[in-house]
């Protein structure tokens, strides 16, 4: 079964053109490419942050947007968890409140429909798996880069998403900590098996996490396939920069 189907044509005001089509039926799909290749734009279109001129986004049997039939779900109705490169934890809320933010929004949304539905993602479980117990009463400004990213992924998880979008989540984390944070990601993927789109320009991350890779180059799909194959065919002409993607 196809988990995610994505088609899009979009021209940005800057002149940059996006013309991308891919689908994936794997648990973790990596979007791989240089900065400026359009990876983040793809995530933004899926999350509903950018409204593309022509787009079709399907998540399992749900249509998130379809320009032809005029469907366009607001970001809050897409049930897509976004983990940002710079985490974007709410600075005025404690870690606990950050974690519960999505859950509480969904709860007030559900009011009147199915009361007291069992929480699909258990709060204590998330705290245990991501080892957040000691951080709960702190504020984002008192967390290290790695801690922030752990809270950010916990916050996205607890909003009970159908799809996780991770936009270079390790770009702002110290090299020495990257390995530890990656192992948390692996634990999360094992535990909840939520379909994930993982944007990165780092080959070893992609090798370690992804089952399927879509390689992007200047707004187009260059190749796709299993990580070994897709990345190898890409090796010869891809001097990957270590700059985080800005698109």
């Amino acid at each position: 079964m196809t988990l995610i189907q994505f088609q899009c044509k979009h021209q940005f005001a800057t002149g940059f053109q996006l013309d991308i089509e891919f689908e994936s039926s794997h648990g973790v799909t990596a979007l791989f490419g240089q900065s400026g290749s359009g990876k983040t734009s793809v995530l933004n279109i899926i999350a509903g942050v950018i409204r593309a001129q022509e787009a079709l986004v399907r998540l399992g049997d749900r249509v998130l947007c379809d320009a032809q039939s005029g469907i366009y779900l607001q970001p809050e109705r897409r049930h897509v968890g976004f983990v940002f490169q710079d985490h974007l934890l709410f600075p005025h809320l404690s870690v606990t409140k950050n974690l519960n933010y999505g859950y509480r929004c969904r709860q007030s949304d559900r009011k009147g429909k199915t009361q007291n539905q069992k929480r699909a993602v258990d709060f204590d479980r998330v705290v245990n798996v991501l080892e957040l117990k000691d951080l709960l009463h702190r504020f984002p400004r008192n967390l290290s880069g790695g801690e922030k990213q752990r809270v950010a992924i916990g916050r996205a998880l607890l909003s009970e998403p159908d799809l996780l979008l991770m936009d270079e989540p390790l770009a702002a984390v110290d090299d020495t900590l990257k390995d530890r944070v990656l192992s948390y990601f692996e634990k999360v993927i094992d535990e909840w098996s939520i379909p994930t789109l993982y944007v990165s320009h780092n080959q070893s991350e992609v090798h370690r996490l992804a089952e399927w890779v879509v390689v992007l180059n200047s707004g187009k799909v260059q190749s796709h396939g299993k990580p070994e194959k897709a990345l190898d065919s890409n090796m010869d002409q891809n001097p990957i920069s270590n700059q985080p993607s800005k698109t």
Partner: protein, 530 residues
């Protein structure tokens, strides 16, 4: 509230223009009294050395008659006269601060006494000669369109008379009118109707525009615009102290040529004919006042000696209450506008920005005048509010709040907008991907993060409201029961010793403004660290 503007402009712009000019000149003539004095004192030595113009200061209620007489005098004698017209109080202050005037015609004796009591630098009396030149009467005037009648002072209690225009109690016309009302026992019951014009001319303007349905002015003023005003009643002389116009020849080491001639010409039979034409009563007996005799104090009862009287305390409380109301009233709109101006691009944005910021650059008096045109109870909007909701805005408490709100709104929007601009818009995106609707993300993320900007906006609006003067003086005028801090200080300026009596108010103003600024500064710093 901006909607009715175009209509107001199109059908009323010509009539009120002169009104704006008179009234916007009022604060400046008040302010000028101290500044241009040196100007006036120095210029004469240079320019008058050649022209030898006689400097004649005259109370503004004698404007027309003195212009006419001075023109005649110039034609007959060849001397030049520089005629300066103004409130007696501010003219007297000019003399006391050394403006080299030759003659002074005051609308009351009190100020002449004050001059007589203060010798010049060489310790000599400033007054060479003094006579009581003219007398005046008080009359009740109505707009020509009025349907009501006033045949006795009691008729002023009539419900059709909503506002009664008097000059404010620091100018003689205001003092005499209050004496007459007090003598008939009406002052207390009329208190709520009284709107105070800054001088006689402003008072007249209130009646002409029918903002007030009756007014008490000098008989001589009705001569100015007979087509707009009708005289309903002459107030008997015995109800108030005699309204004398003392004429003073001021002492100079070398008297300016022609000064004495003018002094005498003003008492001539030729001049008397002109005075009578203008409804003045001419004094036949001239008295010699070289030895100044102090006169009774004409100011009404409540001159307290304490440095912070109940009246001042009431003004401070009123100012603060107005400030709180303004903040509460403008906050929802301020947050809304601040947010959309910071975040949402739309086509009419620059137009909205101009409209919001207009009161910041318009002379406050103009803003106040526009508000008065829109909200006085004769205007469509004012009438509507009055009849449907029973809210009276012009010359009433809500007017204090409205004028302060309009003047402080741009500052509030500015601060709140900056607050929102300092919040990364992607926090909202993050909130929405977590399931928050636009509204929820606004209230749980954007607004709390912009908190310091919002609070700074409130503090600024509050502080600005405390100091609001220009628009308020137009919309509310100077009612005893509706004076905020600056209005009270301003009203005090023309009482002898009035400004020293305002020390308490100055200190309170400084304290309030200072702590407001300190508070917003503190919040700003706290906003940056979190």
């Amino acid at each position: 509230m901006h909607n009715p503007l175009p209509a107001v402009f199109t059908h009323r712009i010509l009539v009120p223009l002169w009104f704006i000019m008179i009234l916007s000149a009022v604060p400046s003539s008040g302010g000028q009294t101290d500044l241009p004095v040196t100007d006036r004192a120095e210029k004469p030595r240079k320019s008058r050395a050649s022209t030898q113009a006689i400097s004649f200061l005259a109370a503004s209620s004698t404007t027309e008659v003195m212009r006419e007489i001075c023109t005649q005098f110039e034609l007959q004698t060849g001397h030049k006269v520089e005629l300066t017209l103004g409130g007696s109080a501010s003219l007297a202050r000019q003399i006391l601060s050394g403006a080299g005037a030759d003659l002074f015609l005051s609308a009351n004796e009190r100020w002449v006494d004050t001059i007589a009591q203060q010798p010049n630098r060489r310790g000599l009396s400033r007054i060479e000669n003094r006579i009581n030149l003219l007398q005046n009467r008080l009359v009740v005037v109505l707009p020509t369109t009025a349907s009501h009648k006033v045949s006795t002072l009691q008729d002023l209690l009539n419900d059709q008379i909503e506002n009664l225009a008097l000059a404010n109690p620091s100018v003689p016309a205001g003092i005499y009118a209050r004496e007459a009302l007090n003598a008939t026992g009406l002052l207390d019951s009329l208190e709520d109707k009284i709107i105070s014009g800054d001088n006689v001319r402003t008072t007249l303007a209130y009646v002409e525009t029918a903002s007030a349905q009756a007014g008490i002015v000098y008989a001589t003023d009705t001569y100015v615009r007979p087509e707009k005003l009708k005289t309903a009643l002459s107030i008997p002389d015995h109800l108030h102290s005699p309204i004398n116009y003392p004429l003073v020849l001021l002492r100079h080491r070398r008297p300016r040529p022609g000064a004495i001639e003018l002094f005498e010409y003003l008492q001539s039979p030729q001049a008397a004919t002109i005075y009578r034409k203008h409804q003045f009563i001419v004094n036949t007996t001239t008295q010699d006042f070289s030895l100044a005799i102090p006169h009774t104090d004409l100011t009404p009862s409540d001159k307290s000696t304490s440095w912070f009287s109940s009246k001042e305390w009431a003004a401070v409380k009123r100012s603060c209450l107005v400030g709180f109301c303004v903040v509460l009233l403008s906050l929802p709109g301020g947050i809304f506008l601040g947010y959309i101006l910071a975040r949402i691009p739309f086509r009419a944005k620059s137009l909205v920005e101009v409209l919001v910021n207009l009161p910041l650059v318009l002379p406050p008096v103009v803003t106040g005048y526009i508000l008065l045109l829109t909200f006085n109870s004769e205007a469509p909007v004012g009438q509507l509010l009055r009849e449907w909701f029973g809210i009276k805005i012009a010359f009433a408490w809500p007017g204090l709040v409205l004028s302060a709100a309009v003047m402080s709104f741009p500052l509030m929007v500015r601060a709140i907008r900056l607050g929102f601009q300092s919040v990364d818009p992607r926090y909202e995106i993050a909130a929405r991907t977590l399931g928050a609707t636009r509204t929820v993300s606004f209230f749980t993320v954007s607004l709390p993060l912009a908190k310091s900007g919002v609070i700074a906006g409130c503090v600024l609006a509050f502080a600005r409201s405390l100091g609001e003067f220009g628009a308020t003086v137009m919309l509310v005028s100077q009612r005893e029961s509706l004076m905020n801090i600056p209005l009270l200080i301003y009203a005090r300026r023309d009482e002898p010793g009035g400004l020293t009596a305002s020390w308490g108010l100055l200190i309170v103003s400084l304290l309030l403004a200072g702590s407001a600024l300190a508070a917003s500064e503190y919040l700003e710093r706290r906003g940056q660290t979190s």
